[in-house]
C-alpha cells in the first residue's frame, strides 16, 4: 500500500478512512508502514488457522447450515470466522434468518435498509455492502440507496434511536418511543418498532464482531453492479487490516505472556476457592470503581474527533454523535440500570415475544448458547471451568453500559481482565470502528484465535443484550 502523501492531498478517487489518514500522517513523519494482512476472511487471523480449525466434514456441515439460512448459500467471511464456533453459528444464523426473511411486521426491504442504517453508524462497510447487495436483490425503492435523505420519513425518524442505541443506549427514554409511535402519518406500530429495534441492536452488535475479528471485505465476483463498484472498489483498501503496529517493537515480548496465562489461571482458581467476604460497602463501591475505571481505559490515540469520510456516511445523519462514557466524571451520574429490575429472562423476553412473536425464543436461544458455550480449555490447558471468565467478560460489557448485577462481585473483573483486554473490550463494544490489529494481538497472547473469536462473540451478545434491555425498558415505560 504505497500511497504517496501527495495523493492524499489531492482529491483522489480513493476514500481514505480515518485510520489510514493517521497511518499516512505518521508515514509522513518518516515511519515504515507494514503491509496489511488482507487475504483470507479475517485480517487478524491467518487464513490457515481458520481452515485448519474447520475440518472437511465440519466444513460441509457449515455449508449446509449456511445454505439453510442464507440467500446465497455461500460462506462469506463472517460466517467463516464465526464458523469456528459452529454451535453458536447455527443459532446466530437461525436468528438472523428469522429477522430478515421470515414473515414479520416489517417488509423485507425495510429490514435490509435498517440493517444498513445500523451498520453505517459504525462505518462498517462490510455489513453495509452486504445489505446493499441484498437490498438490490429485492429491487424495490432503489433510490433509497442514494442515502438517508432519499428514504421515507418513517425510516428517517428511526435514525434518532439508531444513533442513541448505537452509541449511548442509556439515553433512550420513553419519549423517544412516543415520538416514533405517535407521529400520525409516519408512525410506527409497536410491533414494527420492536422488529426495528431488534434489527438495530443485532447489527450494531454484529458490527462490533466484524471489527473485533477484523473481517475482511468480500471480494465479490459480480462487481458488475453499480453499488458494488462504489462501495467496494472505492473504499479504502486498508479497511481494518491496517494497524498501527508501528510501535510493535515497544510491545512486551512473548516471554512474559506464558506467565501471564499462568497468572490468570491462578487468579481464577483463587477466586473459585476463596470464601473471602467483602463488606457490603466494598461490594457496592467495586462496581463504581470498575465503571470509573472504564473511563480511563481508552485507546488514547484517538483523542481527535475526526469524522471519518467514507461512502457509508450517506446512510448516517448526525455523524458527530458518538460514544460518550456512561460514567462521566464531574457530571450528574445517570442512574444505574439494575439488572434485577429489568432482566432479559423475566421482562425483555416477554415484551419482545409479545410484540414480535417467536423472536424472543430465537434471541433467548442465542443468548443461552453464547453464555453456555465452552470447550473447557484455556489456551494450552484443558479441563478448565471458564464460567467465571465468561461471566466477567459479559458483565464488564454491561458495566460499561451502566447495567449492574447485584449478585456480582465486580472485583472479579479487575482480577481476571487485564488492561489490554479491557482496552480491546471497550473499543470493540463502544466504538468498534477504531479497533486495530494491535489491540487484538496485544491481549491474551497465548490464546488461540478461536478463543479470541469466542471473546468477540461474548462481547457481541453482551452488547446486543444491553442495547435491547435499554430499548425494551423504554418501550415498557411507554406502554405503562
Amino acid at each position: 500500500m504505497n500511497v504517496s502523501p501527495e495523493s492524499i492531498a489531492s482529491p483522489s478517487s480513493y476514500q481514505i478512512c480515518n485510520n489510514c489518514q493517521k497511518v499516512l500522517r505518521k508515514k509522513e513523519k518518516g515511519m515504515r508502514i507494514p503491509r496489511p494482512l488482507t487475504s483470507g476472511p479475517s485480517a487478524f487471523i491467518p487464513e490457515k488457522e481458520i481452515l485448519e480449525a474447520t475440518p472437511v466434514d465440519m466444513h460441509t456441515n457449515l455449508l449446509l447450515l449456511v445454505g439453510d439460512y442464507s440467500s446465497s448459500g455461500q460462506l462469506n467471511h463472517l460466517t467463516q470466522v464465526m464458523g469456528l464456533h459452529p454451535q453458536y453459528l447455527e443459532s446466530f444464523l437461525r436468528c438472523q434468518f428469522y429477522l430478515l426473511r421470515i414473515d414479520g411486521p416489517l417488509p423485507q426491504h425495510y429490514r435490509h435498509y435498517i440493517a444498513i442504517m445500523a451498520a453505517a453508524r459504525h462505518q462498517c462497510s462490510f455489513l453495509v455492502n452486504m445489505h446493499v447487495h441484498e437490498f438490490l436483490q429485492i429491487g424495490m425503492c432503489l433510490e433509497w440507496l442514494n442515502g438517508l435523505d432519499f428514504a421515507p420519513q418513517r425510516l428517517r425518524n428511526l435514525n434518532e434511536i439508531n444513533k442513541i442505541l448505537a452509541h449511548r443506549p442509556w439515553l433512550i427514554t420513553k419519549e423517544h418511543i412516543q415520538k416514533l409511535v405517535k407521529t400520525g402519518e409516519n408512525s410506527w406500530s409497536l410491533a414494527e418498532l420492536v422488529h426495528a429495534v431488534v434489527l438495530l441492536a443485532h447489527f450494531h452488535a454484529l458490527a462490533s464482531f466484524v471489527f473485533g475479528s477484523g473481517i475482511n471485505p468480500e471480494v465479490d465476483a459480480d462487481a458488475s453492479n453499480r453499488f458494488q463498484d462504489v462501495s467496494v472498489n472505492n473504499f479504502c483498501v486498508c479497511d481494518l487490516a491496517n494497524d498501527n503496529n508501528l510501535e510493535d517493537s515497544l510491545l512486551p515480548g512473548m516471554m512474559d505472556s506464558v506467565s501471564e496465562l499462568e497468572a490468570l489461571m491462578d487468579r481464577m482458581k483463587r477466586l473459585q476457592e476463596e470464601e473471602e467476604e467483602a463488606s457490603q460497602e466494598e461490594m457496592a463501591t467495586r462496581f463504581e470503581k470498575e465503571k470509573e475505571e472504564s473511563l480511563l481505559v481508552t485507546s488514547g490515540a484517538f483523542e481527535d474527533e475526526i469524522v471519518p469520510v467514507s461512502n457509508v456516511s450517506r446512510f448516517v445523519s448526525d455523524p458527530a454523535f458518538g460514544y460518550q462514557d456512561f460514567a462521566r466524571r464531574g457530571e450528574d451520574n445517570l442512574p444505574t440500570f439494575r439488572a434485577q429490575e429489568f432482566s432479559w429472562n423475566d421482562h425483555g423476553f416477554s415484551l419482545v415475544n409479545r410484540l414480535y412473536s417467536d423472536i424472543g425464543h430465537m434471541l433467548d436461544e442465542k443468548f443461552r448458547t453464547v453464555s453456555n458455550l465452552t470447550y473447557y480449555n484455556m489456551a494450552t490447558h484443558e479441563d478448565i471451568d471458564t464460567t467465571m471468565l465468561r461471566r466477567a467478560l459479559f458483565n464488564y460489557v454491561h458495566c460499561m453500559f451502566g447495567i449492574k448485577y447485584d449478585d456480582y462481585d465486580y472485583g472479579e473483573v479487575n482480577q481476571l481482565l487485564e488492561r489490554s483486554l479491557k482496552v480491546f473490550i471497550k473499543t470493540v463494544t463502544c466504538y468498534p470502528e477504531r479497533t486495530t490489529r494491535r489491540m487484538y494481538d496485544s491481549y491474551w497472547r497465548q490464546f488461540r484465535h478461536s478463543e479470541k473469536v469466542h471473546v468477540n462473540l461474548l462481547l457481541m451478545e453482551a452488547r446486543m443484550q444491553a442495547e435491547l434491555l435499554y430499548a425494551l425498558r423504554a418501550i415498557t415505560h411507554y406502554m405503562t
Binding site: G139, M140, A284, Q340, D346, H347, D407, T480
Partner: protein, 825 residues
C-alpha cells in the same frame, strides 16, 4: 327462504357461594405429622375467621414493591422491594405503617429484597431473599432498631425465593439464580443441606403444605422438581412443566396432589402429582407471562395470578373455566409483583403490592367480574351467506319466538346440540345458556356465487384497456349485474376515446374549464409549428406504446412495471401528449398518411382521453356506448387495434353530439374515485380493485396508498377464503402497491425431505447432501427430475410430468414395474 335452526344449551345459573366453609371437611391422613399440620390449620382458622373484615383500600409506598407477605393472624403485612422494607398493620379502613426495617444511613444490598416471607408459625420471624445472594432472617422481637437476625451468604447469585416450612419453626428454604436450593436450620450458622437442581436457575421453591418432607422447585429451563428434604443428593421426581422459565408454583392448600405452576409461556397449569407421571389436569392461558400464582383459600378450583410484564391486573381463575377470568382486580397502574391472600382460610381478601409503589387490599366482593361484561352473543357469516348467531337464551326466547315460528315449518332442520355441559353446582361461575341459530339463505342477492364467478372470469391484464373493459362488462352483464356492466362500459368510454380528435372545437369551451387552460396554450403552440408537431407526435406515440405494453409486462416482471410507473406517466404527461396529438392542423395530414403508417398505429385507444363530458348527461353514455362499441369491435377483428378507422369514424358520426365539451381523462378522476369508493363502501371491493388494476396509472395516483392497500388486502383475503388462489395471486402481482406486491415474496420456501434418508434437503431439490443420493428419479427415463415431479399416490412412483403423461397414454401400469395400476387425472 330463510331457514332458522336452533340449538339449545341450558344450564342452571349458579350464584357465588361465598359463605360455604370447606376447610373443616374431613380428610383422612396417613401419618401423624399431617394430622398435626391439620390441627395447626384449624387453630389458625379459629383465630382468624372472626376478626377479618375490611374494605378495598390502598396506601402509597415510597418505592416499588417486589414481594409481600402476611402475618399468620392476617393483621399485618410486610412489603419488601429494592428500596423498601416495611411492615404495615391492616386496619379496618386503612394501612398503618408499623415498622421500617430498612435502617442505617446507607442500606446495604442485603436490604434489596427479591422476596420476603413471614413465618406462619412464629409471628416475629421473617426471612428475605436479597438480590445480591444473601438470605436474611429478621426477628421482630429484638429490642434494637435493627431487627436483622441472621445472615446467610452462601448463594453466589440472586436468591429468587425463600420459603419457611409451614410447621417447622427453624426450617428455611431458599432458591437461587445459581441453581442451588439450600435448606437452613435457623439454630445453626449455615445451611443444613444443599440441593443442586443440576439445571438452570431456581425461580421458586415451595414446601408442600400437606407433606412434611416434600418441596417443589421450579426452574428457568421449564422444569419442576420435587424433592424430599431428607435426601439432598437427588430429586424425587422431575417433569417439564412449561416452555421457558417456570416463574412460580403453589401447592393446593387442600388437595395434596395438586400443584399449580405459572410460566413465561403465559400459562398456568395445574398438575396432579399423585400419579406416576405428573399429569396436567387444568391449563389456563393468560395474556402475559405469569409471575405469581396463589390458590384461593376455601375454593378448590380458584387461583389468583398476576403477570410480570405488560398486564397490570390480578386475575382470579376458576381452573375449570380457563377462557375467562372469574374475577379481576384492575387497581394497579404498573405490574403487580406480589399477591397474597390475607388469611389462610378467608377467600374474601387479597393483598397485592406493585411496581407502581402501592399496596392494595382487594375485597373480593368489589372485584370486577368479566363474565358479566362478556358478550355471550356471537355472530358469524359463513362464506356463502349463511349466518350463525348465538345469544343468551333469555334474549332469544323473549321477543324472538314469534319471529321464529313462521320459519319453523317445512324445510327447517334442527342442528344437533353439539355442546352440552352438565351444570356443576359447585362451580361458582355464572352459567350462560345460549341458543344458537343458523340462518341459511337461498336468496339470490346474498349468495356469493357472483363473486366467485366474477373473480374467475374477469380479465385484469394482458389485453388492451378497451378490450378488458368490454370483456368485464360482458361478464357482469351475463351475471346479471347491469350496474357493474354499465360502469365498465363507461370507464372504457372515459379513458379510451376514439373520438379524441374532436378536440379542435374544444377551444371555444376551454375557458370555462380550468383544466383546459394549459392545454389550450400548448395546443396553440403545437398548431403554430406544424411540422415540428408531427415529430412530437411520433415521440408521443413511442411513449404511449410503452404504456400499452405495461400491463403485459407486469405479468412477467413486477419490477419493470414499478420502474415504468415511477417514470414519466403522470396525468400531466397525458395532457401534454394529448395536446400534441389532437392538434387540429395535423389531422388531415395524419389521415393521408394513415395507410403508410398503419404499422405504427398499433396504439391502444387508451392513449386518447375523452374530450367530452358525459357525466352531465345521463343519456349520452348509453347512446355512446352502443355506437362506440360496434366500430370498436370491428376494429379489433384484426387483433391489433388500428386507430385510423376509428378516428375517421368518430369524426364522422360520433363526434357530433359531443361537441359540447372536451375534457382530459384526468377530469374524470374525481368521479371515478368516488365511484370506486362507493363500490368499496357498498361491499363490492372486488369491483374497486378490478377497476383499480384495469385503469392502472390512470387512477392510481388519485386514490391514496393506504386506501388502495386496504382494498387490495380485503379483496385478497376474500379471494383466499373462496380458495381462488390463482386469482388472488394475479391480483397481488398486478397491484402497484409495494406492500401488496411483497406478499408474493414472503413464505416462498418449500421444505422437502429426502426420500432416502428422510432428512431435510437443504441445497438443491433433487440431490440429498447427506446421503448423496438423487432423491427424485423419473421412473420412465431414470434421470433426475429437476422440475415438476408427478407421482402416483397409490404406489408413489413417478417422474417427469411429460414422461408420465406419455407413458400412461399407452400403458395403464406403473412405469416402475411395480404392477400398480396408476391413474393420471
Amino acid at each position: 327462504m330463510v331457514k332458522l335452526l336452533l340449538a339449545h344449551q341450558k344450564a342452571k345459573a349458579v350464584g357465588p357461594q361465598d359463605s360455604e366453609d370447606q376447610a373443616t371437611r374431613g380428610h383422612s391422613y396417613q401419618c401423624s405429622l399431617q394430622q398435626k399440620m391439620e390441627k395447626m390449620a384449624r387453630v389458625t382458622t379459629a383465630l382468624g375467621s372472626n376478626t377479618i373484615s375490611g374494605c378495598t383500600m390502598f396506601c402509597h409506598l415510597d418505592a416499588p414493591a417486589n414481594a409481600i407477605s402476611v402475618c399468620r393472624d392476617a393483621a399485618q403485612v410486610v412489603v419488601a422491594g429494592r428500596n423498601i422494607f416495611k411492615i404495615y398493620a391492616l386496619e379496618e379502613e386503612q394501612f398503618v405503617e408499623k415498622l421500617n426495617l430498612r435502617v442505617g444511613r446507607k442500606p446495604s444490598l442485603n436490604f434489596s429484597c427479591a422476596d420476603v416471607m413471614w413465618h406462619q408459625m412464629d409471628e416475629n420471624l421473617l426471612a428475605t431473599a436479597a438480590t445480591n445472594g444473601a438470605v436474611v432472617t429478621w426477628n421482630l422481637g429484638k429490642p434494637s432498631r435493627n431487627k436483622q437476625d441472621q445472615l446467610f451468604t452462601e448463594h453466589k447469585r440472586t436468591v429468587n425465593k425463600v420459603c419457611f416450612h409451614p410447621t417447622e419453626v427453624y426450617m428455611l428454604l431458599s432458591g437461587s439464580q445459581d441453581g442451588y436450593m439450600k435448606c437452613f436450620d435457623l439454630r445453626k450458622k449455615g445451611s443444613a443441606s444443599t440441593f443442586s437442581g443440576q439445571s438452570e436457575s431456581v425461580r421458586d421453591v415451595q414446601f408442600s403444605i400437606r407433606d412434611y418432607f416434600t418441596f417443589a422447585a421450579s426452574f428457568e429451563n421449564g422444569n419442576v422438581q420435587l424433592w424430599d428434604i431428607r435426601r439432598p443428593d437427588r430429586y424425587e421426581r422431575m417433569f417439564t412443566a412449561h416452555n421457558g422459565p417456570v416463574f412460580c408454583c403453589d401447592w393446593h392448600p387442600e388437595d395434596r396432589g395438586w400443584l399449580a405452576t405459572g410460566g413465561r409461556d403465559k400459562m398456568v397449569k395445574v398438575w396432579d402429582i399423585t400419579t406416576n407421571r405428573a399429569k396436567e389436569i387444568h391449563c389456563v392461558q393468560t395474556i402475559a407471562s405469569v409471575a405469581r400464582v396463589k390458590w384461593r383459600p376455601e375454593r378448590k378450583y380458584h387461583l389468583a395470578t398476576c403477570s410480570m410484564m405488560v398486564d397490570h391486573n390480578i386475575y382470579v381463575w376458576d381452573v375449570r373455566r380457563p377462557f375467562i377470568p372469574f374475577a379481576t382486580f384492575e387497581e394497579h397502574k404498573d405490574v403487580t409483583t406480589g399477591i397474597v391472600w390475607r388469611h389462610l382460610h378467608d377467600p374474601g381478601f387479597l393483598l397485592s403490592g406493585s411496581k407502581d409503589s402501592t399496596l392494595y387490599q382487594h375485597k373480593f366482593k368489589d372485584a370486577s367480574r368479566p363474565v358479566d361484561k362478556a358478550n355471550p352473543e356471537g355472530l358469524c357469516f359463513g362464506l356463502f351467506g349463511d349466518l350463525a348467531f348465538a345469544a343468551k337464551e333469555s334474549l332469544i326466547s323473549g321477543g324472538g319466538d314469534s319471529n321464529r315460528k313462521p320459519y319453523g315449518g317445512g324445510g327447517d332442520r334442527r342442528y344437533p346440540i353439539f355442546f352440552f355441559k352438565k351444570p356443576d353446582l359447585t362451580e361458582q361461575f355464572a352459567h350462560v345458556s345460549s341458543a344458537l341459530s343458523v340462518f341459511e339463505t337461498d336468496l339470490e342477492s346474498s349468495r356469493m356465487d357472483w363473486f366467485v364467478k366474477t373473480a374467475r372470469r374477469y380479465l385484469l391484464s394482458g389485453k388492451p384497456f378497451g378490450e378488458l373493459c368490454d370483456h368485464n362488462a360482458k361478464v357482469a352483464k351475463e351475471l346479471n349485474r347491469p350496474q357493474v356492466a354499465t360502469t365498465w362500459t363507461m370507464l372504457r368510454i372515459m379513458y379510451s376515446d376514439p373520438g379524441s380528435l374532436t378536440t379542435a372545437t374544444g377551444i371555444s369551451k376551454g375557458g370555462s374549464i380550468p383544466l383546459m387552460n394549459s392545454f389550450n396554450m400548448k395546443e396553440i403552440a403545437a398548431g403554430g409549428l406544424g411540422s415540428e408537431g408531427r415529430l412530437d407526435r411520433a415521440k408521443g406515440e413511442t411513449r404511449q406504446d410503452s404504456t400499452h405494453l405495461d400491463p403485459g409486462n407486469s405479468l412477467l416482471n413486477n419490477n419493470d412495471e414499478n420502474e415504468e410507473t415511477e417514470g414519466s406517466e403522470g396525468p400531466a404527461d397525458y395532457l401534454f401528449g394529448d395536446a400534441e396529438l389532437e392538434d387540429d392542423d395535423l389531422y388531415p395530414m395524419e389521415n393521408e398518411n394513415a395507410t403508410a403508417e398503419e404499422a405504427e398505429y398499433i396504439l391502444p385507444q387508451e392513449a386518447f382521453p375523452l374530450r367530452h363530458e358525459i357525466m352531465d348527461n345521463p343519456s349520452v353514455p348509453e347512446h355512446l356506448q352502443d355506437k362506440v362499441d360496434s366500430p370498436h369491435v370491428s376494429g379489433n377483428e384484426a387483433e391489433t387495434v388500428c386507430l385510423t378507422p376509428i378516428k375517421s369514424f368518430s369524426l364522422i358520426s360520433i363526434s357530433q353530439p359531443l361537441y359540447e365539451s372536451h375534457l382530459p381523462a384526468s377530469f374524470f378522476s374525481p368521479v371515478v374515485r368516488e365511484m370506486l369508493q362507493h363500490y368499496a363502501e357498498a361491499g363490492d371491493v372486488q369491483m374497486a380493485v378490478s377497476v383499480l388494476i384495469v385503469l392502472g396509472d390512470r387512477i392510481r395516483k388519485e386514490v391514496d396508498e393506504v386506501t388502495q392497500e386496504h382494498w387490495y388486502t380485503s379483496y385478497i383475503d376474500l379471494l383466499q377464503r373462496f380458495k381462488l388462489w390463482n386469482v388472488s395471486n394475479e391480483v397481488i402481482k398486478l397491484s402497484t402497491s409495494s406492500a401488496i406486491n411483497c406478499l408474493n415474496q414472503t413464505s416462498t420456501t418449500l421444505h422437502i425431505n429426502c426420500s432416502n434418508c428422510k432428512r431435510p434437503m437443504s441445497n438443491k431439490g433433487w440431490i440429498c447432501d447427506r446421503c448423496h443420493q438423487c432423491a427424485s428419479i423419473c421412473a420412465v427415463c431414470h434421470h433426475v427430475v429437476k422440475g415438476l415431479f408427478v407421482w402416483c399416490q397409490g404406489c408413489s412412483h413417478g417422474g417427469h410430468l411429460e414422461h408420465i403423461m406419455n407413458w400412461l397414454k399407452s400403458s395403464s401400469h406403473c412405469p416402475a414395474g411395480c404392477g400398480h395400476l396408476c391413474e393420471y387425472t
